[in-house]
Point group: C3
Chain length 275, copies 3
Amino acid sequence: MTAVITLTTDFGLADAYVAAMKGVILGINLDARLVDISHTIKPQSIAQAAFVLRTAYKFFPRRTIHLIVVDPGVGIERKAVILRTPEVDFVAPDNGVLSYIIDEYAGGNAVAGRQPLDTARAQAIEITNRRYWLSDVSATFHGRDIFAPVAAHLSLGTPLAEFGDAIPSLAVLPALKPRLEPDGTLTGCVLHIDNFGNLITNIRKPDLPPDTTGITVEVKSRLINGLAKTYAESDGLCALIGSSGHLEVALKNGNAAAYINAEVDDQVKIRSNEE
Amino acid sequence: MTAVITLTTDFGLADAYVAAMKGVILGINLDARLVDISHTIKPQSIAQAAFVLRTAYKFFPRRTIHLIVVDPGVGIERKAVILRTPEVDFVAPDNGVLSYIIDEYAGGNAVAGRQPLDTARAQAIEITNRRYWLSDVSATFHGRDIFAPVAAHLSLGTPLAEFGDAIPSLAVLPALKPRLEPDGTLTGCVLHIDNFGNLITNIRKPDLPPDTTGITVEVKSRLINGLAKTYAESDGLCALIGSSGHLEVALKNGNAAAYINAEVDDQVKIRSNEE
Amino acid sequence: MTAVITLTTDFGLADAYVAAMKGVILGINLDARLVDISHTIKPQSIAQAAFVLRTAYKFFPRRTIHLIVVDPGVGIERKAVILRTPEVDFVAPDNGVLSYIIDEYAGGNAVAGRQPLDTARAQAIEITNRRYWLSDVSATFHGRDIFAPVAAHLSLGTPLAEFGDAIPSLAVLPALKPRLEPDGTLTGCVLHIDNFGNLITNIRKPDLPPDTTGITVEVKSRLINGLAKTYAESDGLCALIGSSGHLEVALKNGNAAAYINAEVDDQVKIRSNEE
């Protein structure tokens, strides 16, 4: 049965882990169309995976199944879940990797912790029925042994209720939104570094004061005053709202991440100089 | 409708840009067979993309659609085009990325600038009909919003004339061929660095004097005398005509690019020592 | 005809070599499902390719065709072969890259050199019939010109005997198993470095003394005493039996390979301190 299944992991490109997952899927549904979103998510960076997933998923056909395995809690506390929306399905650990999707279905108001689902708009199932798993489940590779076969069976049209019972809420990351400190500082982080070395943060336009001329962006002890409109505007480091709607730090004709030695998860602070 | 679509970009492997393009294509033609040629083209290196495309495209089935998005002029001057030959289709910006293909159809005589097409052998169309684009077109990502949907509609058999009007010529890179200086020096550049660190240049055998024993190859201030026949012949750096027919600089049992710190676009000079 | 073909090479991701192989396959069987296992095998590391292949192949559907091109002997002495087992086919150079597969069919007793095949369980063919090759065969790229078209014809159901004559034995690597020195030291090597920087060796649990508390593991002049049970157990470098059943050297919350500057093929020594 023809269906699209995407894969997003932190497994890298050197090992055969992604290939093993694809083998399992094709063994169950040989007509699945497999598309890689990214496998170079920083190991265990749930926030980066959540961001990368969000930039891609809307461009896939209706009823695409998105499989995400960035799973630091494998074998311990977190649940494995399916989230079904009117358009698509997600198969993932319940660790916040679906935060941006859940936030969209919560009208942009999801709060850190656990977000209740409006079941008229989205349903979630905890994956518990071992009938759809590989017969041997390792302690460390649920991507291959649980998530991949569940996604494959889902692509064959197996009803959602077959995989387990409904759950009323899903995990939402604290890192989804920046934190407002008592002194007025807005503290966020680097979500993703793109191929050009731009630092994409979890700070979005509505998080900033209406007049951004007076703000200072601090990252890796560097200070940037005000926001630029385009990458080409100013020499040196600049900050701007990028095409994803997030605040980015960029370097004209250069690689900002390499220049200031920044990494995913680094802190970013915004101060308003209004005194 | 089964059809092969290849993708060549400078988007790298960390972001979801390539995945978004694939999602758009599969939303239009779920039976497209998607094959990556390379996504690690040096950002904005049109000449490298042109070279890499040429080494691969002939091995694909007839009527394969090759989609190339190395597009420094996105949103500004360059046209988006389809080039149809008797065997294959190319969907790309008209910025020189098809130079080697055009050169083949011009009998190896294409000159830098704009090359008129012999329409008995190849036709080109400017992509202007918005009916085949995504409804929202961003200023910075025509790969996803224009090129990908056009390639997908082409794979469904949509006639060429539907996409726009014929144009009589296409852009050809100056970097396609080396330049002969007044003093007899031949000045070329590094087109591509392969997985083994070999520097592949835009200089081909017919560009060199018949007797190559007296030539000197200069790259990154290093001088190499004469051409070797194989990689194993000499210790240290050597120059030879590689399997692509281009002059390469290699290091026996080593990585020439790392050894001399060379990059794509670095200059390469050939001098004949005949005095 | 729908069939899965996997690809494992040392071609890297920068060049179009893998794409050319895929183009050739799709030109012969447009319904082949192509899956990459890894293309970042260390150039010419047959032992690493053999290990990576083994960790993935069992998870693919029955009758999958695994194509492996890590081929330092291309154009010289080694044969090109097909190995057919009751479950799957392998198309590869006969240079040891199938060592672990052959060892499984030999009950774990394959010895370095050439292993005779029990033809009731596995058959091997030398690829000699040029009818199934590309018409022009280069001296340096049999992956594209011989292995890829043979795998594609195999996926169409062409009988094994069409490709060439049966051969009674296949090459097995010396590196498959560690060497016991006269002084009691066990000398092995690093087979693979995974995405987390763990060093996976060719030493397996049965190669070690029953009581591992008294052993010392030496790699890159570092000494590690005894085996840990999990990665989290001890600070600094530790050695443990990983999920593949092989001895691994790891660094808690870090990258062991970067920390001690280790590479694939580096030597690993085990000594028992029983005096």
